[in-house]
């Protein structure tokens, strides 16, 4: 299958960028460096500033302060039609009065590309998204997924060095979304174009991205690969936003290089200490937590908290449990196939090693924003 020409992707450099709407600050001092050809996802809850960032890059809105460079050149004041950036919108934005073929040909016509050359490139772009048979249909004769594939072809047909996508799969059902995610990943691999992708779905971000920038309240909390964000979240917000987790709060005291957190009379040992005087909280990943009968199977150095099984879910590949602890928190544990089964109401210990927990400064806003 032939795709549009492989073009070198453009780098994006955003430095200390802010965006104000009147008195409201939508973006505060954003720093974001995107490498050529990278798949960067902007992830965050609703209203966190993802679309605003994309609009700044596309030139749909002006930056209030700070610097923005695309491909090494400052684009301040450059109108969107001169930026040569492909944009895919959540609402497809296909022109309803043009057929699929005309829609895809439109950016080529604007660039003075005519005749056979144009036909060939339209065909190639539609082949790439597997929509070549639909060239004569009008957008309202297509399903949502088909419309979005056409929109993708239209945004790529002129070989832009950069493609922006704002929740392109947000309006589609799950199966279709998963299939299109793989299609987008394949196209990115084939083209070498820089992709900037906005979503509030962390699973989608993990599937697609080279790196993820996590947005919260107009700031970037952390930038990193999916693995970095999952294993080493910089903030409680990131830890809770990416993947499943349990947050344990208690009375913390330093003990040498370690921290001891006391929860309902039981002591938890955590390696390391937090800088400053932030209150430490413990973040646990479900697959790092084992369920054991109280007082049995102890491993040296292991932390234990007692609770009651509140929910037991069989997942096929294993089981997932929710355990109500003495202080009322619900801990989530995932146990692999073949582990001991527990029933709702059983008294159990959740067990985890000090090296398996993540110690983070407490942040009340992480709870609020997520609900």
């Amino acid at each position: 299958m032939t795709a549009p020409q492989r073009s070198a992707g453009a780098a994006i450099e955003i430095r200390k960028a802010s965006k104000h709407y009147g008195a409201f600050t939508a973006l505060k001092d954003i720093d974001l460096h995107i490498r050529p050809g990278e798949f960067m996802t902007l992830l965050g809850p609703s209203g966190s500033g993802k679309t605003t960032t994309l609009n700044l890059i596309a030139g749909f809105t002006d930056i209030s302060s700070g610097a923005l460079e695309i491909g090494g050149k400052s684009v301040t004041g450059l109108p969107s039609h001169k930026r040569n950036i492909g944009v895919v919108f959540q609402h497809y934005a296909l022109f309803p009065h043009m057929t699929v073929g005309k829609n895809v040909a439109y950016p080529l016509s604007l660039r003075g590309i005519k005749g056979d050359d144009r036909e060939k490139r339209v065909r190639r772009a539609l082949d790439m998204v597997k929509m070549a048979d639909f060239a004569h249909r009008y957008p309202n004769e297509l399903s949502g997924g088909q419309q979005q594939r056409v929109a993708l072809a239209r945004a790529l047909v002129f070989d832009p060095p950069l493609l922006l996508m704002d929740e392109p799969l947000g309006a589609l059902d799950k199966k279709l979304r998963e299939w299109l995610q793989l299609e987008i990943k394949r196209i990115h691999r084939e083209l070498g174009t820089t992709f900037v992708y906005v979503t509030h779905d962390q699973e989608e971000a993990l599937v697609l991205s080279d790196r993820i920038a996590v947005f919260n309240g107009g700031r970037i909390e952390q930038i990193g690969t999916g693995r970095e964000l999952y294993d080493n979240p910089a903030t409680l917000f990131v830890g809770r936003f990416i993947g499943e987790s349990t947050v344990l709060r208690g009375v913390a005291e330093a003990s040498g290089d370690n921290t001891i957190v006391t929860i309902s009379g039981q002591k938890i040992l955590a390696h390391g200490r937090l800088a400053g005087d932030a209150r430490p909280v413990i973040l646990l990943r479900p697959e790092r937590v084992a369920l054991k009968r109280p007082g049995v199977d102890a491993i040296t150095g292991e932390n234990r908290l007692t609770g009651t099984v509140a929910e037991a879910i069989y997942l096929g590949s294993g089981s997932k449990y929710e355990v109500r602890l003495a202080d009322g928190t619900t801990a989530v544990a995932r146990s692999p196939l073949g582990a001991v089964d527990f029933a709702i109401g059983d008294t159990v210990d959740i067990a985890f090693l000090p090296s398996d927990l993540i110690l983070l400064p407490d942040d009340a806003s992480a709870d609020v924003t997520l609900t």
Binding site: H81, R83, H91, A93, P96, L110, Y138, N140, G144, A155
Partner: protein, 300 residues
């Protein structure tokens, strides 16, 4: 090309989330009777008198097509018929030129300004046509406001009252709302994010407007143009008050035949000719209204 997975997926219950929902399937039996009162009124006030007019045009004073023969043999009648269509064409054109930017402005201004603009459109509806036309007499007459201004500016006065341009100006003002409202109602449904998409694909602002916005606004333009044209054909008060002997329109001739000469047959024949011309026009315009793509409505 291989089959795409999503073709298979489309058989699933949630597939095709972009498909339109056909609300029109909800059709309780007997719903047609809901139209009964309107149909009754139309029968009494429209169909019955119309039937009489048509009947008399063929029977008064004697059975036959004599009235129609008279109509088309008279040079005056033919000139006036032609003039009526030309004036209707001008009125349509001038109101379109005024209405299009006005309607567009209504879609982009803030809430309060929009309200003010809508009021400006609607206020003339609340005034009687006679009052409005008399206002135009004051504005247009030889010693009227417009000519005073021209003279004040050192320009030579123009003859407006009792001329065709005067009639066209007056009729345009009265009919303008019928052009503005359909255009506005189509424009406000146009997804302006399409313009943003066009810009990102490389279109200069005016190109995006011309190639994306304008085509999508055409259904409103067609609707407004047809309404204004047809209303112009039968306009009476304004041309009668603002016009002179050389700008008589068909409606005045009808009035003359029926009320002054009491010749119902000839008046009726004129009305029927106008009616048929209108139907022909509508038939010609119908394909324009039936476009393949049906909407630019917002999806998300």
């Amino acid at each position: 090309m291989t089959a795409t997975p999503d073709e298979g997926l489309r058989t699933g219950p949630a597939a095709g989330s972009g498909q339109p929902v056909f609300l029109s399937r909800f059709r309780p039996r007997g719903a047609v009777w809901l139209a009964a009162p309107a149909v009754l009124v139309l029968l009494v006030v429209l169909a019955y008198p119309l039937g009489i007019v048509v009947w008399r045009s063929f029977t008064d004073p004697a059975p036959g097509i004599e009235n129609y023969v008279w109509f088309f043999q008279s040079a005056v009648n033919r000139t006036v018929l032609q003039r009526t269509f030309i004036v209707a064409g001008w009125v349509t054109l001038v109101s379109l030129v005024c209405a299009y930017p006005y309607a567009y402005a209504m879609t982009i201004v803030g809430k309060n300004m929009r309200l003010a603009l809508i009021l400006c459109v609607l206020v003339p509806f609340w005034l009687s046509g006679v009052v409005r036309t008399l206002a135009w007499v004051i504005l247009l007459q030889d010693s009227g406001v417009i000519n005073s201004i021209l003279r004040g500016l050192g320009l030579s006065p123009v003859k407006l009252i009792r001329t065709l341009p005067g009639v066209i100006i007056g009729m345009t003002q009265v009919l303008l709302p019928f052009m503005i409202l359909p255009i506005y109602s189509v424009m406000k449904g146009i997804d302006t994010r399409l313009l943003q998409a066009a810009r990102s694909l490389g279109a200069k602002p005016w190109k995006a407007f011309l190639q994306i916005y304008m085509p999508l606004s055409l259904p409103g333009v067609y609707a407004g143009a047809i309404i204004v044209f047809i209303l112009s054909l039968g306009f009476y008060i304004t041309p009668a008050l603002l016009g002179g002997p050389r700008s008589i329109l068909l409606s005045s001739l009808v009035q003359n035949q029926v009320l002054s000469l009491l010749n119902w047959g000839r008046g009726g024949a004129m009305g029927v000719v106008l009616l048929i011309a209108t139907f022909v026009l509508l038939a010609l315009a119908a394909p324009l209204m039936r476009q393949k793509h049906t909407s630019s409505r917002r999806e998300a």
